[in-house]
């Protein structure tokens, strides 16, 4: 089955075609088809997993490739490669996709273009699966762009709203900048090695087939793509805006799967990064991103925005782990993060539905009475995100701390700060949303717990958020098919047996306690006097944070001033140098010539054909004469 894992991608692909063609006319607009599709790939994943594990260590990675086309000597192979990283990604994608599909049935009920939403969701799942299954960079790039497309379509799902349109465009264009880098990187690879196959490329690089400088440049381009997709500084701006899309989409695409594509790409090419000496760049970028977005998350008032910045921050954590050379730590955080962040997003979606589309924290509060299941699961997710022992987030964050430990105290200190911030804003989010008194009685009175179709996925994901961390343990992991625990399973080449470092556990618990209690103290019971301390004390700083360190304004400024200024220069040159002297002069010439030549322009095809034929005869005769 593992060698036929392409079926996983084919099923939602077919579902997309069917739903795009018939969706409107299917009973219930085809949502059952979407859920059926998600369920079947969820089931098929276990078939793949079982088969993959049966094959044992020696046969990894499982390859299946066909010759797609051959043009001369160049043979283009398309195929899939299934190795432990892929399996992890598959697990995340299929699980979260199933949950999100089920959740969406409740969330999107009665929304416009219901069928189209589900159709594009299937397209996304299909392309994401293709992305992680691809054994070559070309196919990966195709899937990369396809996930971008589906992300664009889903962010802009409510295209009647101008903000949604803007957000979709922003996401598309911003990631496109990175994608161009990725494409250039792929082409550079191909030029150097003559293949798109990832394993071959790694093989070539390990043999030193590419020069150092060139390799570094190539890897920078690849990293650009990864940063764009994973919303790393300075490409992070699109991800918060992408919250304009339906919330389940945010959970699936902008928290669990698509945004981690960059992490996946870096992890996949980690040997190459290592060989290129580019890991430090990754580390620094990740750290900056984690810190920066953690700070920004303090000042956000929209639930989804907070979660979005939190996602950016956690992606930074993953990059940090990768930059430290510990791919397993990064992948493990990816794995756990997918569950609890999807849980949080879906919980936010549940809140939005339950409160009839209110998502500003200032208007909420005290929801735990009204929505106990949502609140409970949200609490679990929050604690997992903040890193409470022994929830999933704790173990993966622990791994990252452990990884950074080797990189120097400074980095360790910074990442600890970031961890504290995580706990802080998580606590703030939970407290302001669920605890205390309702800020707006009107909204509170209408709030209802959502139905089982939405709460059941929450419960499942909450369960996963609790247990996902245990996969790191040898016994637990092997019981669930990850022999040797998560780290050993994911990276055979970097065996990193997990052991509990009690000092680190203590530190990390301390970080959790500081952050959580800090957040809770500030915001407990809606006491905004404490929370506004910062704003009163340093309004400039607060504004800076709230304005997201002026990144959007910076970009706007760049476009307004630099680009337009340059354009002005160019236009001046065009007007005076090109237009007046060059164009007008030549136009006069051309006009005169046209006046002379217009008699040849009869508009009759036979005349032209005659000219062509006569020309051919003349040229042939000339060439014969010259040739002989």
């Amino acid at each position: 089955m593992a060698e036929h894992a392409w079926i996983l991608a084919a099923v939602p692909g077919i579902a997309f075609i069917v739903m795009a063609a018939l969706g409107r006319n299917l009973p219930r607009q085809g949502d059952w088809l979407a859920v059926l599709c998600a369920t079947s790939i969820f089931g098929l994943f276990f078939a793949v997993l079982a088969n993959f594990l049966n094959l044992g260590g020696g046969a990894w990675p499982v390859l299946n490739s066909i010759e797609w086309t051959a043009i001369g000597d160049f043979k283009l192979n398309m195929g899939i490669a299934v190795d432990p990283i892929t399996i992890v990604m598959l697990a995340v994608i299929t699980t979260v996709a199933l949950m999100v599909n089920i959740f969406s049935v409740g969330y999107m009920k009665g929304e416009p273009r219901y069928w189209w939403y589900f159709a594009v969701l299937q397209l996304f799942v299909a392309s994401m699966l293709m992305l992680v299954l691809a054994d070559n960079l070309l196919l990966l790039y195709v899937a990369w762009e396809l996930v971008g497309l589906s992300s664009f379509l889903l962010i802009g799902h409510y295209w009647e709203r101008r903000s949604a349109v803007e957000a979709a465009k922003k996401a598309f264009i911003t990631t496109r900048v990175g994608d161009v880098g990725l494409l250039i990187g792929i082409i550079l690879f191909w030029e150097a090695t003559g293949t798109f196959n990832i394993l071959d490329i790694i093989h070539y690089v390990e043999e030193g087939a590419i020069g150092d400088t060139r390799l570094f440049v190539t890897m920078m381009f690849i990293l650009l793509g990864a940063m764009g997709k994973s919303a790393q500084l300075p490409f992070h701006v699109w991800l918060p805006d992408a919250m304009e899309g339906p919330t389940p989409v945010s959970a699936l695409i902008h928290a669990a799967t698509m945004v981690v594509a960059g992490v996946y790409l870096v992890a996949r090419l980690l040997p190459v990064f290592e060989a290129a000496g580019a890991l430090d760049v990754v580390l620094v970028i990740g750290l900056l991103t984690a810190l920066f977005s953690g700070v920004v998350a303090f000042a956000q008032t929209d639930i989804k925005k907070v979660l979005a910045y939190s996602t950016v921050s956690q992606l930074g954590f993953m990059f940090v782990a990768l930059g430290a050379g510990y791919a397993s730590a990064g992948m493990f955080h990816l794995f756990t993060h997918a569950f609890f962040k999807a849980l949080l997003f879906l919980g936010a979606g549940s809140v939005i539905i339950g409160t009839h589309h209110h998502q500003e924290m200032g208007q909420l509060g005290g929801l735990w009475r009204k929505m106990p299941i949502t609140a409970g699961t949200f609490l679990i997710g929050s604690l997992a995100l903040a890193g409470l022992f022994p929830l999933a987030g704790f173990w993966s964050k622990d791994e990252i701390l452990h990884a950074v430990e080797g990189q120097g105290t400074f980095f360790f200190f910074l990442i600890s700060i970031a961890a504290i911030m995580t706990a802080f804003y998580t606590a703030r989010l939970f407290v302001r949303t669920f605890l205390g008194k309702p800020q707006d009685e009107e909204i509170a009175s209408h709030t209802r717990e959502t139905g089982p179709v939405m709460t059941l996925p929450l419960v499942f994901l909450a369960f996963m958020s609790i247990v996902a961390g245990f996969f790191i343990f040898h016994d637990f992991g092997s019981a669930f098919g990850f022999p040797g625990g998560f780290s050993e399973f994911v990276f055979l080449h970097y065996p990193h047996a997990f052991h509990v470092d009690w000092g680190l556990v203590g530190l990390s618990t301390a970080l959790f306690v500081i952050g959580t209690f800090g957040g809770a103290w500030f915001y407990w019971n809606g006491r905004l006097d404490r929370s506004t301390v910062m704003a009163e004390w340093q309004p400039k700083v607060y504004e800076m944070v709230q304005r997201k360190f002026y990144f959007d304004d910076l970009y706007q400024f760049l476009i307004d001033r630099v680009v337009l200024g340059f354009s002005y220069l160019v236009s001046w040159f065009d007007r005076f140098a090109v237009n007046d002297t060059g164009v007008d002069g030549s136009a006069t010439m051309t006009g005169y010539a046209g006046f002379l030549l217009k008699h040849l322009q009869t508009g009759r095809v036979p005349n032209y054909a005659m000219a062509i034929a006569a020309g051919v005869v003349a040229l042939t005769l000339i060439s014969l004469a010259v040739g002989s």
């Binding site: 086309t69 051959a70 043009i71 036979p606 005349n607 005659m610 034929a613 006569a614 051919v616 005869v617 042939t620 005769l621 014969l624």
Partner: protein
Amino acid sequence: MTTEVLWWIFAVAIVAVSAGVVFARTVIHSAIFLILSLAGVGAMYLFLTIEFIALVQFLIYGGAVTVLILLALMLTRMGIAGRPEPTTGVQAPFGALVAAGLMATLIGVAVSTAWPGDLGQNAVAVSIENIGEQMFQNFGAPFMITAALLLVAFIGAIVIARQEDED
């Protein structure tokens, strides 16, 4: 010997009917001469011992292309009640000149060139398996592109020939 005689008969006939295509007075006669010319070229492929191409020629040209032409003539009723139009354009003499020049050039080139690899022996039969292998292996991409081209042409023809709503 028989083959050569037959070949010459066919060659003269093809030239005659091809001339008929361009010189015939009515379009329908031209179309029928075209069928004969195409069939003659098909026979030439038989002389070259390549039945496959000959059959493709019959099937596509004889069965589809000329039928399309005749159908278009019927639909537009050009051959029956169309307005009498001058059949030959004003540039006929120049055209004749150019065509004659072209013919002379082509014949000259064909005869005078020493073709590399021409062993001076009879044409060799090409097996259909060979053609199939070549077509689907070495010419896979052109094959696919041709398929796409046919589809696009099909759709385009429908779109163009469709009557517009405001008509």
